[in-house]
Symmetry: C2
Subunit: 305 residues, 2 copies
């Protein structure tokens, strides 16, 4: 039986990966600072480890003896695009790579980002995995740096390495302050939801599909960068309108009330040929489903408090 | 007065940087695992720190309160091209960057390498700083990764960052086992010095000039990558012949006795326009001088033992 180490297991994507792994024939060890979720996970071996404490990380990785690692841990709190914590997470990732390999690990799967790529001059093209990389942010630079050394270290040591490149994700479990949760919070409080014009087009994948994609990538022999997306691009304004409609308060949505963020391309969507043809993965949730599940989850959280 | 933190101060390049800084109006704090040299350095504030111990590194950097950092520390012992220690040194560099900036540091200068670049298809061209990067080794990948995050972090925080890109260095203080010291050791013992054919052309800078170049780069406002070299390319065989001649035993040199290393380009020399025109730096040691000083140093070391 495969034994999979999941870092960042308590995060938005991490919880979805645990769900996906729980459906398969896999032993899972979850590393995170917080418990991975409030739901009960009877088969889960959860370890509390601060990955930024290198000796503790090395000890934990050596102890758990996993053959596969899905590395999701990163700081993606407010301001994460430029946070100096990106440097710490690069360091932690480099430490993890070596510790995992030297503990006998054979397959390493990490989470990449569209922010690794050059966002200028994209035009209408979907970004392929081999598109030019030139990160505009420290977040993108640190993720790109970790993948570069992972690929090089893997090539030199026989480790298999794959990088699931996430463009945008949506669905149950997103943290407060991100687009969908903040619209829902405003509308449910009977307040205006002030947004940018949202003309930019994205392809947010349902986080439950994203979890399944990472689980599948971990179980497959595929190496290198693999874009992950839904394959149904939509403008941010279109998503916001659907959220407002589903909340029953389209009247409170204020598109264009906030200035657009500088540097965001008009269209930022992944080319999914590798995901479909080589990974053989097809997302099963449509956008309405993602939005409905996200709203239900958020309201359930509110009801518990 | 500027206050400069030098990491890797006990290394081949580090000692030369300390010598160069000692000639200027600068306070120097040296970090290294070993004392920086056996010579007395009365004005030097030397701290023993294991940079791979992140909390210790953070404490030391916060304590010393330097405005400038020259970061040279790295593992370049035998096998360093593929050593997993490259991952640890990437982590240490990322930790250093943040600690230095948050302790009030304003200028960061690091040591890059020609191994960051794509070595295929170079032909006869000198490599410019903006030549394509595609490291073939983990050493090159880790150095490239550190520079990428340094440049991004610097751009976002107002830190000045420069990267002195070393192609090859020669001169007093090189560790045993490298080309020149091993030829000298063999010939001085009256034994054959077995070498590759050495047809590849390089441009090794004298380490004393390299130290001066790093000191100048630290004192200048120049940012970005700056190639460092002598500007007098020579084949490895030509260098070996000069070494053997200077040792008085050209008869014991066996060029072609060892197979060539795979993947080394026929010509790997830096374009030095930025060094000359923007840094305003001109090396002062010629190759004969470098070889003579290296041999003298090595024999003096032997005599001390």
């Amino acid at each position: 039986m495969r034994r999979v180490l999941v870092t960042g297991a308590s995060g938005f994507v991490g919880r979805a990966v645990l769900d996906a792994l729980a459906r398969g024939d896999t032993e899972v060890v979850a590393l995170s600072r917080r418990p991975p979720s409030r739901e009960s996970r009877p088969r889960l071996d959860w370890r509390a480890v601060d990955m930024l404490d290198a000796p503790a990380l090395r000890r934990a990785v050596a102890e758990v003896g996993c053959d596969t690692c899905i590395h999701l841990a990163w700081d993606v709190g407010p301001g994460y695009w430029t946070s100096p914590a990106n440097l710490d997470w690069l360091a932690a990732g480099a430490t993890l790579l070596r510790a995992f390999r030297e503990a006998g690990g054979t397959r390493f799967v990490g989470a990449g980002t569209c922010a690794e790529h050059d966002w200028t001059g994209i035009g209408d093209a979907a970004l392929r995995e081999d598109a030019a990389r030139r990160p505009a942010t420290l977040y993108g630079a640190a993720k790109a740096a970790l993948w570069d050394v992972a690929a090089s270290y893997a090539a030199g040591t026989g480790l298999e390495a794959a990088w699931g490149v996430v463009f945008h994700a949506i669905g149950p479990g997103e943290r407060a302050g991100r687009l969908l949760p903040s619209i829902v919070a405003s509308l449910d409080a009977g307040q205006e939801a002030r947004c940018t014009a949202g003309t930019q087009v994205q392809d947010p994948i349902d986080v439950r599909d994203l979890g399944a994609a990472f689980a599948r990538l971990a179980a497959s022999p595929l190496q290198g960068r693999v874009n992950l997306g839904r394959g149904a691009p939509e403008s941010v304004a279109g998503i916001a309108r659907r959220v407002a409609a589903r909340c029953g308060r389209p009247d409170l949505l204020r598109l264009g009330a906030l200035p657009a963020r500088a540097g965001e391309p008009a269209r930022l969507v992944p080319d999914l040929a590798r995901m479909r043809d080589e990974l053989g993965f097809v997302p099963c949730h449509d956008l309405e489903d993602s939005i409905a599940a996200a709203i239900d989850w958020q309201r359930a959280q509110g009801a518990e408090r």
